[in-house]
Amino acid sequence: MFAYTFRRLLIAIPTLLVVIGVVYILLFSAPGGPFDAERVVPEAIQAQLMAKYHLDQPYWRQYLLYIAQLLQGDLGVSYRYADWSVNELVASALPVSLTIGGLAIALSLVIGVLLGALAALYRNSWMDYTVMALGSVGSVVPSFVLGPLLVLAFAIGLDWLPSGGWDDFSWQFMVLPVSLLTLINVSTLARIMRASMVEVMNSNYIRTARAKGLPMHLIVFRHALRPALLPVVTIMGPLAVSSITSALVTESIFSLPGLGILVVNGAANRDYTLVLGLVVLITALVVLVNLCVDLMYAFLDPRSRA
């Protein structure tokens, strides 16, 4: 297992280099640059700016310069947020996104698995239909509708919670955003769990256990749950990454200073260094999370060990 982990982490390096290369190409192919603004920049000044940020160099040299800088842990300076380095921006946004995304994923895992399992065990009954209907609210009602509805109900109507903003991790500002993200993720997890659970409950060895007269709760918890969780865990990977890095709608509805806003503003403003810095972060997260998921396979399903 350690050798496997080590090999995977090693492969992460070329993966990262490829991702940076791809994003570089995409960024430079997009029309418009970071200095295009309503007020036209005078030529002499444009030349200065390009030289200052090495944008007058050929692409391959810029790429190498960036990698060299990256190796020293320096993600560069932002264009859009000109007073801040990308390191500072990521350092201030990451904890916010991690907290909100992390809490949401944990909650949606617990609730989603519960709902899906219940629906599977009471298949085709009213319990099944109702549970799935409730669970699916988050995917059927768009987040940019659900969010403002939550705000209308709890912040403005009942005045229990603030309608947005962020104040140094105080819990009141976290309740609504975490709820929104959880609602969205629960639906996916619940449906996958249900389908997976149904398959497992119909498999031969579960049937054997039932035929042998084992009590239901033992069957579910000791035999069915582990293999049923496999697809859930698979989907958790990308879901966790996107909850942390792409929760843009949640962040803009609740005005949270997270990574999602940085990613979109970076792309819209052609802020090359910011986008690349975020991409490095996202790649690291993706690699790490997918590695954990693959390691979980071995734990959950011995048959999949290579």
Binding site: S29, V141, A195, N202, V279, V287
Partner: protein, 291 residues
């Protein structure tokens, strides 16, 4: 759908079995009927209604729905009839939703099953490519596609497929890793069945249940992503519309003209719920182990 497990009872085709099981699932049947109804309504409806989807009426702005005038669904802030726009928008959303889901599922299944079955270095490389696709922000891909290929409607399908296939691929690969150790696969290999046949005739059918369910999970995301892209100028253009666009615009008018949100949101939600129940029903019906 055949496997090497012993046949059930003689003289009963597995398809008829599946149909029977499907019919027993009331929610799934209702959903199928509803979906057919909605699709027909979206295709034929606009021809039957008196207004065009793009005819503005500056004297009839933001009218509430009523049965007395010809605007059964009310009008939007440019005086356009809401009902006909919902139906025309439905055409786009359904088309994008179904087409994109089909292509991304197809790509994901082929990719994941191949990686999972072949294993080793091939698996590693294929899955690292998946990692790379996850890491690249989809906004950039979408912008580039529009820049390079122009503003065709089918581009939206391409763009959304480009970053939706990875989830299916990972899901399928995971399942394949478990399946390839099962006895029927070993038996097929012992019998000398070629690798592509094993993958496509033995492994994939056993995945279909999960994949079907995941397909219905994909549809809503696709429909909403289309509206985000259109909003950025990368999808359909005004005056053409879609449910996602209508809902996005309607959400802005919640205080003053709630019907602009409620009608398209209702249509979208009911359709998506139907896809969900249909997917679950199909999964249950087609599961060979479900007796």
């Amino acid at each position: 759908m055949h496997s090497l497990t012993p046949a059930a009872e003689p003289e009963r085709s597995p398809w008829r079995d599946a149909l029977q099981r499907f019919r027993r699932n009331k929610a799934a049947v209702t959903s199928l009927v509803f979906l057919i109804f909605v699709t027909a309504l979206c295709i034929i409806g606009p021809w039957l209604l008196p207004h065009a989807y793009d005819s503005t009426d500056w004297d009839a702005l933001k009218l509430a729905p009523s049965l007395t005038n010809s605007h059964f669904g009310g009008t939007d802030e440019s005086g356009r009839d809401l009902l006909v726009r919902c139906l025309v928008g439905g055409r786009i959303s359904l088309m994008v939703g179904i087409l994109t889901t089909l292509t991304s599922i197809a790509l994901g299944v082929v990719w994941g099953a191949t990686a999972g079955y072949l294993g080793g270095a091939v698996d590693q490389v294929m899955m690292r490519i998946v990692d790379i696709m996850y890491a690249v922000p989809y906004l950039l891909i979408a912008i580039l596609l529009v820049t390079v290929l122009g503003r065709d409607f089918y581009l939206v399908v391409l763009a959304i497929t480009a970053f939706s296939w990875m989830d299916t691929a990972r899901l399928v690969r995971g399942q394949t890793l478990s399946l390839r150790k099962m006895e029927f696969v070993e038996a097929a290999r012992a019998m000398g069945v070629s690798t592509p046949r094993i993958v496509f005739e033995h492994i994939v059918p056993n995945l279909m249940g999960l994949v079907l369910v995941y397909a219905t999970v994909t549809v809503p995301g696709v429909i909403l992503t289309e509206s985000v892209l259109s909003f950025l100028g990368l999808g359909i253009q005004e005056p053409m519309t879609s449910w996602g666009v209508l809902i996005h615009d309607g959400a802005q008018m919640l205080d003053s003209a709630a019907w602009l949100l409620i009608l398209p949101a209702l249509m979208l939600s009911l359709t998506l719920y139907s896809f969900n129940y249909l997917g679950d029903g199909l999964r249950d019906a087609l599961d060979p182990k479900d007796r």
